[in-house]
Symmetry: C2
């Protein structure tokens, strides 16, 4: 049985969303057409508007509607002299939710991946080099993902920072809080041992 | 931290889709804006077009772009004299995928639910009564969901069919094929026992 072309096309388009397979797409399409036509129209409009309006922050490259994003426009954060390098805008959100970091960000929008033809300029490292030359950055915090590409990217940026004589750190990797040792993978456990911290009894 | 308004609105609109929570909506929004802007625009267009064009089949009430859906327009199916009553267009798809049924459908687009103010006319039973009076229907197959509302709806339609002296059947309920007895709920197992079929040795 063939569904009518508009329904088939809607299901196909819904399947392009991450985590949506044929069955979910069918359920979404039918729910919109049966009961949520208003919500469906709002979604169509939200999509068009976001795609039309949202671009990249001219300072940190994150996604924003403005020329400069809210975080980069924050004078207090700029004066902290901290620059955290992350791969995606979602990483910025995750770090902001900890409430522990009060500096600026630089969003690579990806990572170095020579096999896919993604070089330093594709992830904005020319722009980063320019910022390091012109701004007074006290410390760079490398918060790229702990994957092979993320580590390579972090290494590349650390080199760049060294050329500008800027202190650089990498976020800690180890056993997640609330995790059980038994279920932690070997690489993480290895990091947890090599990155162990001496307990300072005077601090208690 | 506040995201820019267009991104926030896109995430809110995505959350109206079934099975999409805040985290999935965030992932979808970022993926569209970072890498899939073309697919996002196509989705916006597919939504608008489907919502504008898709209405209900004038014969069976299922979702379709045409005046009469493909199945109702099929002469062979109409002549079979079978009418299967289902709750949603997704049920039609599921039954069609079995390949075992070659008759027509009537799609209620819901079920009787007096508490929610959904009466017989809201699920098209006035239209069904009209069809039963004017068409020659040999058998009605009740395939509403085995829920309280679905059973009540089936019962109501069975009464309607009796008034028109039409033979009526309910699809079988029992242990799902491939299921294990141990994990089947009591109500289903009860149905499986009360609906047991005598094994006819002559048939082997």
């Amino acid at each position: 049985m063939r569904l009518s072309p508009a329904i088939t096309e809607l299901m196909r388009a819904l399947r392009t969303l991450p985590g949506v397979g044929p069955k979910s797409a069918q359920r979404m399409a039918f729910q919109i057409l049966e009961r949520q036509r208003d919500a469906g129209l709002q979604l169509a409009q939200a999509l068009s508007e976001a795609i039309e309006r949202v671009g990249h922050c001219s300072v940190c490259r994150t996604l924003t509607e403005s020329e400069i994003c809210e975080l980069c426009a924050n004078e207090g954060r700029r004066q902290a002299g901290l620059l955290c390098i992350v791969e995606t805008p979602a990483d910025v959100l995750a770090i902001e939710q900890t409430g522990q970091y009060q500096g600026c960000y630089f969003v690579l929008m990806g990572h170095l991946s020579p096999l896919d033809g993604i070089g330093p300029e594709d992830i904005g490292l020319d722009k980063l080099a320019e910022r390091l030359a012109n701004e007074s950055v006290a410390e760079i915090i490398l918060a790229t993902n702990p994957t092979i590409e993320g580590e390579a990217t972090a290494h590349y940026i650390a080199e760049l920072a060294r050329q500008h004589s800027i202190q650089t750190s990498r976020i800690a990797h180890g056993v997640p809080v609330g995790g059980e040792l038994e279920y932690v993978d070997q690489a993480t456990l290895g990091h947890a041992f090599s990155g162990r911290k001496r307990i300072d009894f005077d601090a208690f």
